[in-house]
């Protein structure tokens, strides 16, 4: 608004008189007073200055509002959009990998699935569906994200069908069920390579990973926008301040008055505007920084730790279910070299690394405490896992299954791979929730830091313009 009305007057006013005014001196001014048709030179100069300054004040206001709007949009994006989409992508990843681990765990049970596990599998899938819908709605015109979400949504029914067929075959004791379970897990985790005219199918989790990466990049971009230095406003402010100072110095030399109250008021308004903007920006920066450091950065490390833990759990289960036909899953757990000589990274090792990284990133005692607990759970679980692999190798298959499912018939019933894995999940969830809470609080504070600034800048700019008009108006009146 202010821009539209300001522009014509700036371009119109100085154009015809510019060259003449440049040659102005005391003598010429007196001569000017003697020729009535043309306004006196000082008069005209002052009037011009007044117009320029008033328009400049409004322009500064416009620049300030625009710059603030950009940062506010960024902060809002962090709080309400990118942050949420990233969280949804991470939760989708979690739901799906939890479903995969749970399906393998259910398979190891004889007969009907235990109620709690069946309910967990159903909840995971329902959550995944809800998250897919919400993420699709939130994706807006992000075609990359929409494309990924569509692919995931298309593959999910196939995955569910494979698992259901596995369960049906398992119920009647047909070994083909294991192949269905393995095919389901392959579709979820690594995908199916191309063969002849059959195209390759990417793993569902690989697609979710791509989505997570894209949303993380969007969040980083939003954080950059929210903390962008407002050059436009800073430039306009500096010019305006310089102009006001120069005019005031000149006017105080020309007249015997030390101050023009109007110009002084305008300067004060400008300084207040600048100080307010700087303070708000600094506050916002620090909240955005905290949201990232104490919130999203930790969430992303913890989320990947949780996913790795679920992958390791699936490995543990499928190795037991496979009875020698899924030993590549144990290799995925331990890491090593596969039969084709390719290096396989250790999922368990990566999990430990992620937890250690998270431990280093933790910024408060609760976060540190939860991650320390998770690390202890991980260690205990790994010990149990190693032991259950030994049981299996020594033909004590039932003992290995007992440990994996937490159904012990020997002493120390609390010690089992199942118990340690579950404790790890609980502590990881709490740690993620804690970091999420921090993120939400900080992101909200960042958005709130700019509250009122735009209106304030507008009001101050108008006040500044008015002060200039009124202040220089008094001086102009002396010529009439």
């Amino acid at each position: 608004m202010t821009l539209a009305t300001g522009n014509p007057s700036t371009s119109a006013a100085p154009a015809p008189t510019g060259p003449v005014g440049a040659a102005g001196s005391g003598a010429v001014a007196q001569q000017g007073r003697a020729t009535p048709p043309r306004a006196p030179r000082t008069d005209r100069r002052l009037s011009r200055t007044r117009a320029v300054l008033a328009v400049g004040a409004l322009l500064f206001g416009a620049a300030g509002i625009t710059s603030t709007q950009i940062r506010a949009d960024g902060a809002d994006d962090v709080r309400a959009h990118s942050g949420v989409l990233l969280k949804q992508a991470e939760e989708l990843y979690h739901s799906l990998s939890d479903a995969d681990a749970t399906a393998a765990t259910i398979y190891l049970h004889v007969g009907e699935a235990p109620k709690a596990l069946a309910a967990q599998y159903d909840t995971d899938l329902k959550d995944a569906q809800d998250l897919l819908l919400a993420a699709t709605n939130g994706a807006g015109d992000d075609t990359n994200a929409k494309d990924l979400l569509t692919q995931i949504a298309q593959q999910l029914p196939t995955y569910v069908k494979l698992n259901a067929t596995a369960a049906a075959n398992n119920l009647v004791g047909y070994p083909v069920g294991i192949r269905y379970l393995t095919q389901a897990s392959t579709l979820m985790q690594t995908g199916v390579p191309a063969q002849g005219s059959t195209p390759a199918q990417p793993g569902i989790l690989q697609l979710v990973q791509k989505l997570t990466d894209a949303e993380a990049a969007n969040l980083a971009a939003a954080e950059d926008t929210a903390t962008q230095v407002p050059w436009l406003m800073a430039g306009a402010g500096a010019l305006m301040l310089a102009a006001l100072i120069v005019i005031q110095v000149r006017e105080s030399r020309r007249t015997n008055r030390l101050f023009s109250l109007g110009l002084l008021g305008a300067t004060a308004a400008l300084v207040v505007s600048l100080l307010w903007a700087v303070a708000a920006a600094a506050l916002q920066d620090s909240h955005i920084h905290n949201a990232k450091k104490r919130g999203s950065a930790q969430v992303s490390v913890l989320a990947s730790a949780r996913i790795l833990s679920l992958q390791a759990r699936t490995d543990e289960m499928l190795t037991l279910v496979g009875r020698g036909t899924a030993d590549d899953r144990e290799l995925d757990y331990t890491g090593g070299t596969d039969s084709s000589g390719a290096r396989v990274p250790s999922t368990e090792g990566r999990l430990k690394d992620a937890l250690n990284t998270a431990s280093g990133l933790a910024t408060d005692s609760r976060g540190r405490d939860l991650i320390a607990k998770a690390l202890a759970n991980e260690n205990a679980w790994h010990t149990q896992h190693t032991q259950l692999r030994t049981f299996d190798a020594q033909n004590a298959y039932q003992k290995a299954v007992d440990s994996a499912l937490g159904e012990h018939d020997f002493a120390a019933p609390k010690e089992s791979a199942n118990a340690d894995f579950n404790a790890l999940q609980t502590n990881l969830k709490d740690a993620i929730d804690h970091a999420e809470d921090t993120f939400t609080t900080e992101a909200k504070a960042a958005a709130d830091a700019l509250t009122g600034l735009q209106i304030g800048l507008g009001v101050l700019a108008v006040a500044m313009a008015a002060a200039v008009v009124v202040g220089l108006g008094r001086r102009l009146a002396e010529y009439h």
């Binding site: 070994p175 063969q195 036909t325 030993d327 144990e330 190693t386 030994t390 190798a393 004590a396 002493a411």
Partner: protein
């Protein structure tokens, strides 16, 4: 317990295993005393066989088992071989009774001292060896053949322990298990081929206990009866034929039905799952495995086209070399001959009819020529 610890030295990840042994329930005592004995055996074996294998870790490795037709290291250009390759029998033709002397230091001696036989089996081959309820109580034809061998050694039931083994992986699979002495024999739907006997692994096979062929499995026709197609009939029809990854069946399909017809799956049983999903149109593999698939799905059947190549299954025993005499293959051959001749409830015919759900057409004959491989 100390012996168990010695075993863990070769099996690096078992450090914690001894911790809970003191607190175990009664049901596991037998397993554990068995484990201790295995450890004793492993200790003796480790001094000789396991040494050159380095840090091989039994049973915890990364084998990809290709049911029926493993991709094991084999001789590059095998020479034809026939009945003489497997025919060694126990001297005199009469097996020693449970108390009769056997050659000291031999495999049989070792098994007797341990008081049970350790048989390597698969657990995912329906009708042959499977554990339907994950209870470690395997059943099937392979399992019963292994039990019969244990009965021949000890004169009574109950002297056998099963270990699940994979076929293919050279460092952890069936061959390594045999060489390391972790198992005494493998009864694992393993085809006797010249390449396997002549290759680096020197697999030692018994005479065949089961003869199968390679056949085509397809959904039933519209009339509810098995279809008539052979591999060659599928050429140019755009139909996909599934086979185990890298198996010889893949080459056969390529030759007879064309390059485009092949679809390779990690395991033969994957092919059934793919057929049920409509991703392939047929499965081509050993008749024995196809029987298992038919038993899991009433809507598929082997086609009536003539079979492609005979696949004799043998019992694999330990590596034979001049300095490591193996008396188990001759024993197994004689015991097998007795089993096949036995018409009683524990005889070959009855086991076959019971486990494979159909009476045998004939007895397993030793072929004049084994498949090259």
């Amino acid at each position: 317990m100390t012996v168990t610890n010695t075993n863990t030295a070769t099996n690096t990840k078992t450090h914690t295993a001894t911790k809970t042994t003191n607190t175990k329930a009664r049901t596991h005592i037998r397993t554990w005393s068995a484990t201790t004995l295995i450890a004793a055996v492993a200790l003796t074996a480790a001094c000789s066989a396991a040494q050159d294998k380095g840090a091989a870790q039994p049973l915890t490795g990364q084998g990809i088992n290709n049911n029926g037709l493993p991709t094991a290291p084999t001789a590059k250009s095998p020479t034809p071989c026939g009945r003489e390759a497997t025919e060694a029998t126990w001297p005199g033709g009469t097996l020693p009774g449970p108390k009769d002397p056997v050659p000291a230091g031999g495999t049989l001696d070792k098994i007797r001292k341990r008081t049970f036989l350790i048989a390597g089996i698969d657990l995912n081959t329906y009708l042959f060896s499977y554990d339907p309820h994950h209870t470690n109580e395997p059943q099937g034809f392979d399992v019963d053949i292994a039990k019969a061998m244990a009965r021949a050694i000890f004169g009574e039931d109950g002297h056998i322990q099963f270990r699940m083994v994979t076929l293919a992986d050279p460092t952890t699979g069936e061959y390594a298990q045999l060489h390391n002495g972790n198992i005494d024999m493998a009864v694992h739907t393993t085809t006797i081929t010249c390449a396997r006997m002549q290759g680096d692994q020197h697999m030692s096979f018994s005479n065949p206990y089961y003869i199968t062929e390679q056949k085509l499995l397809m959904p039933l026709g519209d009339d509810g009866k098995p279809q008539k197609f052979g591999l060659a009939d599928l050429k140019g029809t755009g139909k996909k034929v599934c086979a185990t990854l890298n198996s010889t069946a893949v080459d056969t399909i390529k030759k007879q039905a064309g390059e485009d017809a092949v679809y390779q799956a990690p395991y033969a049983l994957d092919c059934l799952a793919l057929l049920q999903q409509g991703k392939v149109d047929a499965v081509f593999t050993d008749d024995a495995l196809l029987r298992g698939m038919e038993a899991q799905d009433p809507h598929v059947a082997r086609t009536t086209a003539p079979p492609v190549q005979i696949q004799p299954y043998g019992i694999v025993t330990n590596y034979v070399s001049p300095d490591k005499p193996n008396d188990l293959t001759p024993f197994v051959n004689t015991a097998l001959a007795n089993l096949i001749a036995d018409n009683g409830p524990d005889g070959w015919k009855n086991l076959y009819a019971h486990d494979l759900q159909t009476p045998p057409n004939g007895l397993p004959q030793i072929p004049d020529q084994y498949p090259l491989g």
